[in-house]
Amino acid sequence: MSLTLLIEQILNGLQFGVMLFLMAAGLTLIFGVMGLINLAHGSLFMVGAFACATVAAATGSFWLGLVASLAAAAAAGALVEILVIRRLYERDHLDQVLATFALILIFSEGTRWVFGSFPLYLDIPQLLSGAVHLPGGAQYPIYRLAVIGVGIAVAIGLYLLIGKTRLGMRIRAGESDREMIGALGIDIGTLYTLVFALGAALAGLAGAMVGALQSVQVGMGEPVLILAFVVIVIGGIGSIKGALVGSILVGLTETLGRFLLPHVFGLFMPNSEAATVGAALASMLIYIVMALILAFRPQGLFAANA
């Protein structure tokens, strides 16, 4: 194991974490502002990927596909909020979970109905193909570096939006006291739709960027959704800063665990067994980390309303 390999793996962990952040930011925003558990967030991720793949296949341009993914996911999010979610704010979390779980099934089977059961094709844009040389002789794909860049840009953008703008002020106000800002004459309904659409657009963006790396298929959002929930639980529900730290932590733990644990076990057992045991433990690692963090800080690292 060399230093360049380690650097490469750390970058991989960062890239994975940043992608999780795009999912977790929307999820935590929606939970923080509206108090809603949205299981269908993974479906919006899938909508983004399918929109990008379809438009990219029709026009030949990944960039138009990316725009389409933002638009389609935001539109789907706004529509879902107006038609379904709006009726759930006053209900308890169990009703919300049931309704949004139903949405997952509707989105999945609807997508299969429109696009069929076979995965779609989506490749990275020509401009970002190839690799760059890192100091120390390692090579790293430009596209993955670009994903890291987009994630950092979104994190800064969200920070500015929430900390420095009037909309952000309203979002924060809505988080702490929704009746009061309603009483102050702010249209809370529109604000909620906006926040929901924003979270959906971020999920769609993540779906499109990841779709180019992976396969665009029905059900692609659910595994990511589970990790995104782990992230917001670790980071503190409702906190964007927590989502960022949590995502990077989960991304690095997951990637480095997968890579280092088999090596560690390889020191004192045969390679084939070390690979099996290491892989098994690596897949548990983030949940172990989550359990440890919750044991010491039950409200998460940066709880918003603590």
Binding site: Y121, Q139, L213, P223
Partner: protein, 378 residues
């Protein structure tokens, strides 16, 4: 009264004129039609139904249910099919874990099960049954074929599979015949979609080739990321990672990849030509290996139905065992454990016009048998 008489006369003459055993056969098909693995089940079903349609046999009634790739659901459906639908035969399961949940209890109730895909080692060895016929392969076979084929060109292969029973069978199968050194052996999480960490390890391992068993979406994700990474070592795998159902989604990144299977669309025999043409015409796409296996399974059942009554289980089992049908794979016969003896081919992903598909480039094994037959006592 006259009408009734005429009708019964007609029925009588039809039953006399028809085939001696043209009696209704009820087949229960449990397969995966929703969720991420649906492409495989849909292909197996479409291949199966194509053979039934082409035969023109109106007496075959197929009950199809979706297992959503969930073992508990498959078990429920199987119970319903056996107890209330009273099916004579069962088939359709794609995944080994589902097969393990359904097959032993079905065969214990004297229902004949024919596998279109899954071939777990437990059912080929000590757990074999006279009522269980595998028309596809034993799970290790494709991997064994690649291990054998890799000996020719490679000395140091990096091998990788998901961490679940079929993944371990895969790497065991590969190692059983591969004589070179292993540059690395990695188990990934089942359903993993990001392989950056593994690709970095491959790059650093000093391997001269890479063998992967990653079916469905996992294979799509890996192959795309591998091509993007520019590692460029030759990529090998069983056909599952590069079958017709996933090739369009991988795109040109799959070109030149070598993979092993018992079938390819360009296999030169009459049955295969009729199958490929019929499939393209009926469904507007190229068939995959799963569709070929489904098609063969249906034809095997039809061939047995001409020789024996499905109500006479012993006679029907014997008729199945003869495997007297025109397989799209050419030669096909059953070993003592009711698993196939067949040839395995090395295929290469090529572009035929605008479509990506697999062409045969070599033969890996002739008349290959699985490694577990000796453990089967029946």
């Amino acid at each position: 009264m006259k009408k009734l008489l005429a009708a019964s006369l007609l029925a009588l003459s039809a039953s006399v004129a028809g085939n001696a055993f043209a009696e209704p056969i009820k087949i229960g098909m449990i397969t995966t039609l929703s969720g991420g693995g649906a492409g495989l089940g849909i292909d197996a079903r479409d291949g199966f139904m194509l053979a039934i349609e082409q035969s023109g046999n109106k007496e075959v009634d197929v009950v199809i249910e979706d297992d959503a790739q969930k073992p508990e659901l498959a078990v429920q459906i199987a119970d319903k099919m056996i107890q209330s639908d009273k099916v004579d035969l069962m088939t359709g399961i794609i995944w080994s874990n589902l097969a393990m949940a359904v097959v032993p209890s079905a065969t214990a109730q004297d229902v004949i099960y024919l596998s279109v895909n899954a071939g777990p080692s437990a059912l080929a060895g000590a757990g074999c049954s006279p009522s269980y016929f595998n028309v596809a392969y034993q799970n290790d076979n494709f991997h064994e074929a690649m291990g054998e084929a890799a000996n020719k060109d490679y000395k140091k292969t990096f091998i990788m599979a998901p961490n679940y029973p079929a993944g371990k069978d895969s790497l065991t199968g590969f190692k059983r015949f591969y004589k070179g050194e292993l540059a690395g052996e990695v188990y990934t999480k089942l359903g993993q979609t990001d392989y950056a960490a593994e690709i970095a390890q491959i790059r650093a391992s000093g391997a001269d080739s890479v063998f992967i068993f990653l079916p469905g979406g996992m294979g799509i994700a890996f192959t795309k990321q591998y091509a993007q990474s520019g590692v460029g070592l030759p990529l090998l795998g069983p056909a599952f990672s590069f079958s017709q159902d996933v090739l369009p989604a991988i795109g040109d990144a799959a070109l030149g990849v070598k993979n092993t299977a018992s079938w390819a669309y360009d296999l030169d025999n009459e049955a295969n030509k009729a199958f490929v043409e019929g499939f393209k015409e009926a469904y507007g796409r190229l068939p995959s290996v799963y569709a070929a296996q489904g098609y063969d399974t249906a034809n095997l059942i039809l061939s047995a139905a001409e020789k024996a009554s499905v109500k006479d289980k012993d006679a029907f089992r014997a008729a199945l065992k003869e495997a007297d049908f025109d397989s799209v794979r050419g030669k096909f016969s059953f070993n003592t454990n009711n698993h196939p003896i067949q040839d395995f081919y090395v295929r290469e992903v090529v572009k035929d016009g605008d479509t990506l598909t697999n062409k045969i480039v070599a033969t890996a094994f002739t008349d290959h048998k699985d490694a577990y037959a000796a453990e089967c006592k029946m």
